[in-house]
Symmetry: C2
């Protein structure tokens, strides 16, 4: 016997969509995207969903479950869109760039996967890398280690992006002035003791994170070619 909604029409019928795991996770993603990892608190979630703590814990094991699932959700679509019909080198670059862009747009995802690189959501990523290395004639044993190294590189960049985003979210300076500050600080470094670091400060202002990332991937691919 389903009860009729006897009081459903009192007041403006506040949408009746009850709480669900999916809704909680989507809301968490919104909070994370707009305010960063620090902004996602259970309190913030209860307010945004106008519910209580217990309601959330009924659908979600704990906060780390919430964060991990949110990260999975963001990354899943990105990786499924990867096309692998191009030549292996191009496909690998595309794959790495796809992950870079997704993490660049959602830095908290980078922090999460750098903590938990073995999440099932990354399975397709590993599998694609492995197959592409195969296509590049990398021997089986080396393929495993090479894939690991490449993933470490990608997630290393991811973690740094996340750290940068956290720093920017904390202060009220924007990216440009942040880089400016960093550049001037680096420029003050003693050129006698640290000639390379001092010279590097020159390039800091004009450098593009995405391009630098891609150059790293290229170095990697060139190195992998020697394993054949």
């Amino acid at each position: 016997m389903v009860k009729r909604t006897a009081k459903g029409s009192a007041r403006a019928p506040r949408r009746t969509d009850s709480l669900s795991r999916e809704l909680i996770i989507q809301t968490a993603i919104e909070i994370l995207d707009s305010g960063g990892e620090k902004a996602l608190t259970l309190r913030a979630l209860t307010v945004r969903l106008s519910t209580g703590y217990g309601a959330i814990y009924h659908h979600v094991a704990d906060k780390s479950d919430l964060l991990a699932t949110a990260a999975d959700d963001v990354i899943t679509g990105v990786l499924s869109g990867a096309v692998t019909d191009a030549d292996p080198r191009t496909a690998l670059r595309r794959l790495a760039l796809g992950l870079f862009d997704a993490i660049d747009a959602h830095p908290w995802v980078g922090a999460e996967f750098s903590r938990q690189p073995w999440r099932p959501a990354l399975l397709d990523f590993y599998e694609s890398i492995g197959r592409l290395l195969d296509a590049l004639d990398v021997p089986e044993k080396a393929r495993f280690d090479a894939a690991g190294a490449l993933v470490n590189y990608v997630l290393g960049v991811a973690a740094q992006n996340a750290a940068n985003a956290r720093r920017l979210a904390g202060s009220d300076t924007d990216r440009a002035t942040f880089l400016q500050n960093a550049a001037t600080r680096w420029a003050q470094i003693d050129p006698g003791r640290y000639p390379f670091v001092h010279a590097a400060a020159t390039h800091l202002g004009e450098h593009d994170d995405r391009e630098q990332f891609l150059l790293g991937v290229d170095i990697f691919l060139a190195g992998i070619a020697t394993l054949r």
Copy 2:
């Protein structure tokens, strides 16, 4: 007028070394090494040093200052010991391995530097890398990006080591059974859909983190050689 210590001899003269920034940081390092990042709380520090909160905040700005300085302290000696008289390739491998071993011994240091890769304590590291790339005839512009990529790789591995250590510290399973569990979980992955990942599970048990790290460095150096 310096007061004479009139009551200094009452009871066993409990060593008179008063609190200092250095003592606080050394104690923090001990706590971090034995219990991981989670174990370092202000409470734990006050107990271990038998003092109050204010005493600590008198010598240290806040907890992140404490963590950063502790990480600096651990890494400083390691990098100053690096010898650079070997051929550049060997020296680079040695440098990377030195950082790997230090972070392997103190995983929380890896987490910290992956969050703050521009700490002054890493200056010598960057400088050495830059000079060695110079010795390898890498053009100046590419040298900057190549150094960044290499650092990203090293710190990416560092972050993963830290994450693994955190996971092991949390559970009561040791490293061997942890790898065992991971291997069996990976082996259950559908070999039809994920042939590479499934095959990789075979190597998981016999693989050595340090060796895999070094192979990554070698791939990198081989790739860098093509930039000449």
